[in-house]
Subunit: 197 residues, 2 copies
Amino acid sequence: MTRAVDGGPRKRGRPTESEREQRREEILDAAVRLFLRHGYGGVSLDRLATEAKVTKRTIYGYVGDKTEVFTAAVARLNREVLPEAEPVDRQARTPGANALEALAVRLVITLHSDVAIGLHRMVVAEAHQFPDLATGFYAAGPQRYIDALSDLVPCPEELFTLLLGEPHRRRLLGLDAPPSRARAEAHVNGVLQLLDL
Amino acid sequence: MTRAVDGGPRKRGRPTESEREQRREEILDAAVRLFLRHGYGGVSLDRLATEAKVTKRTIYGYVGDKTEVFTAAVARLNREVLPEAEPVDRQARTPGANALEALAVRLVITLHSDVAIGLHRMVVAEAHQFPDLATGFYAAGPQRYIDALSDLVPCPEELFTLLLGEPHRRRLLGLDAPPSRARAEAHVNGVLQLLDL
DNA sequence: ACAGAATGACACGATCTAGTATCATTATCC
DNA sequence: GGATAATGATACTAGATCGTGTCATTCTGT
């Protein structure tokens, strides 16, 4: 008999092999949730252990100390946000005037999402303590989007900057909600017109 | 006989009236230095007390608890960074094609400085815990610069966004050093050309 | 079946931190 | 001069947190 998905305390003792495979994922799921909500300093290992329904010793066994958990959580968030950019290449090859617009709208919606904004904010906040994370974040994030745009326009960096723009700055400061698709499309059209694209 | 400016332990007992006037400034000077370097969570009151050559009780007497010290430090930083925008109005009235360029260069250099970047990073990092600081920061900072530009160009928000651009994002992540004046001027000229200004 | 590995529950030590209290010392007020 | 206020030095309380230790429990490998 298998235990209910969220049924009280986890059973004791050594886990089965299939449980072991899920274990690390569950820990990182909880870490991502908590770090996004409360930031690095606002999450204790006890709280993370409770959230992951695991003990601290198990966290050390599967991931490591707090800094390693944070690094792994950021890495997972990077992989979670960036696959949205994968269809870029496919879209880029699609001819027609709307290819650029479609890509831009995807980019705006993705990078203004709660997850992407939370990641961006965390990396900025901890750039002092985790400089390697900042380097990796920029290379895997903004730089990659800029490279994708470089196949389509002559000024990819400036286009990327404008696609984020002040709304993105305000999102980082927690001043606005994520834009609706309609707002994102309007923003994209405004930017493309401004740059004569 | 007056004590040397930075000569060992401060003398005990009730301070003179002139000392009282300086006291709060010295505390906030130290707070600004430490918060910029180590962030809100990275500064303890003991450390702040040592840096300000004062005891914790005196900090409570002059400023308040840690959150009030942080709020006061951010307010002081806002006042410290923004006076650079005061000459905006005077420059704006100066006719000639170089008025906009001169203002833009000032803006780029100021907002990429270590102090401005440190403030921006701190406000982003603590936007969850101090949402009022984020609101005040955007209104007194970016919004104010955008308003100043609105007298000179038809697309002030977009111009502001481009004047910061990816170099500013990279500065927030600790990836670049502050731009030289030459780099700032080159960046401004590139942006103004792109927008046909 | 049995030894060993991995876990949850619980506890513990060491460290750090916010905020307060005590006491001697120095300035201000009357 | 004497009372009062404000300070530095120091210690303290109370709580949080990181990282380990102990022990019973459960799975894996042989």
